[in-house]
Amino acid sequence: MPSTWDRIRDEFPTLHQQVNGHPLVYLDNAATTQKPRAVMTALDRFYERDNSNVHRGLHALSMRATDAYEGARARVARFVNAAAPEEIIFTRGTTESINLVAASWGGANLAKGDVILLTEMEHHSNLVPWQLVARRTGAALRYLPVTGDEGLLDLSALDRLLTPEVKVFAFTHVSNTLATINPVAELCARARKAGAVTVVDAAQSIGHMPVDVRAMGCDFLAFSGHKMAGVTGIGALFGRRALLESMPPWQGGGGMISSVDFHESRWKPPPERFEAGTPNFGDAVALGAACDFLDSLGREAIRQHDGALAKMAYERLAELPGIRLLGPRGERGGLVSFAFRDIHAHDVVTFADEDGIALRGGHHCNQPLMKRLGLTSTARASFYVYNEEREIDALVASMRRTLKFFGSAD
């Protein structure tokens, strides 16, 4: 069987179009990736043949839909090497997964005097839910610093910050702005030693590299399907079974109860306890197909491909006058953020779009980090399995034209 890598661009219909008279160069993958035919076909097939509400149904279609949904759960569990399918809760995505942990686990376990430890590089989705639960419970927030433009976590400060008051340490696997790959296993081990529960934001790593919750040793891991070749509206939370079993529901409704009376109800065990209402089974089935697709490419191969493109883009962009590049120079995740001294990121993005290149410009939902680095916005190019070296050539040429227009070319 020929490797999917050989004709990878054929798998992604969206890529084959002209934008502003140029072939599309899609470099906004950290925001969302394009979808392969295999995923869209899985979604269509489900709705064309098996669509029916899951669980409790006694007819053929409902049983098929339930099998497909629970099969997707088992597939996702295998994808992150969870110990059992019951450790996977389907959510709308990373943001909802983290809100679930913060509201349910945080609401039941945090109190005044406790500390929530985060890092300065967190996306708003791993920051605002903790601010909300801190306000509700009286717990305090504390931050592990970032070293500066090279974007590493200051691990020398960790022992000082990981005091006995720290009940939870939540951090990102790969920074969506800096491209830093954090040493998750080490961070989890140190947190565990200090008695803190760990929450890993895997939004930027899940589709780009091997993610193994048991090797990491994390308690919770959150991710989105649409950043890993899946469709929008579906994601998952991994939680260690013992922790999930100890947690109260966070939303009530059908599907999550074992019995209901007028004044009180009893909850089902996880994962159903945390999936009130009709779940998003159609998109979950498509997420299972996305897992198959990525495993057929090999996640170690994806890591090398995306990382090599990002490193190459970093080196090529570094030659431009007045550019400031963020994140580590060596090994990095599949993206690169940059700012020009005299040109705002939105102008950069508008000029790139003129050349058919999709970039993102702004604070990337990293406002506190931006403030810390003295920036208001950066432009960001992010790569995926279908991107090619020639697209970095197009990016650099477009940046040169932009610099020339704004009169800062060398």
Partner: protein, 151 residues
Amino acid sequence: MSSDLSDLYQHVILDHNRRPRNRGRIPTANRSAHGDNPSCGDQCDVYLRLDGDRIADISFEGSGCAISMASASLMTTLLKGKKADEAAGLYDRFHEIVTTGKEPEEISDLGAFAGVHAFPARIKCATLSWHAALNALRGDPAPTTTESHTD
């Protein structure tokens, strides 16, 4: 470069972006207002010294794209010396220009912003400082945000 893009980044806009007029905080200001565009992080503070209902002096501080900074700079040059109702009238004309692309009949630098209408996502950039200025004129201390008005 396409004609749309060269219409957007006209000479007047590039000049104001490169050499902003009335930038910084005037120490004698008796009114100020803050504006921000949460979707992109652009920020703008406008400072006024009101003398009766006349804008005796005006300045701005902020960070943002060429369109938003040039718009703020040009606005300060146009509003200095104007009365509050004249300022509101100028904004109405500016708003029409950036949303319809119609160049004004009289000769005015405001016409440089006509190209914005072809880039709907950038209209908020052009109007941010104006909203802050009008809020300052009204004496409304609440920060204005591009999420709370329709343009």
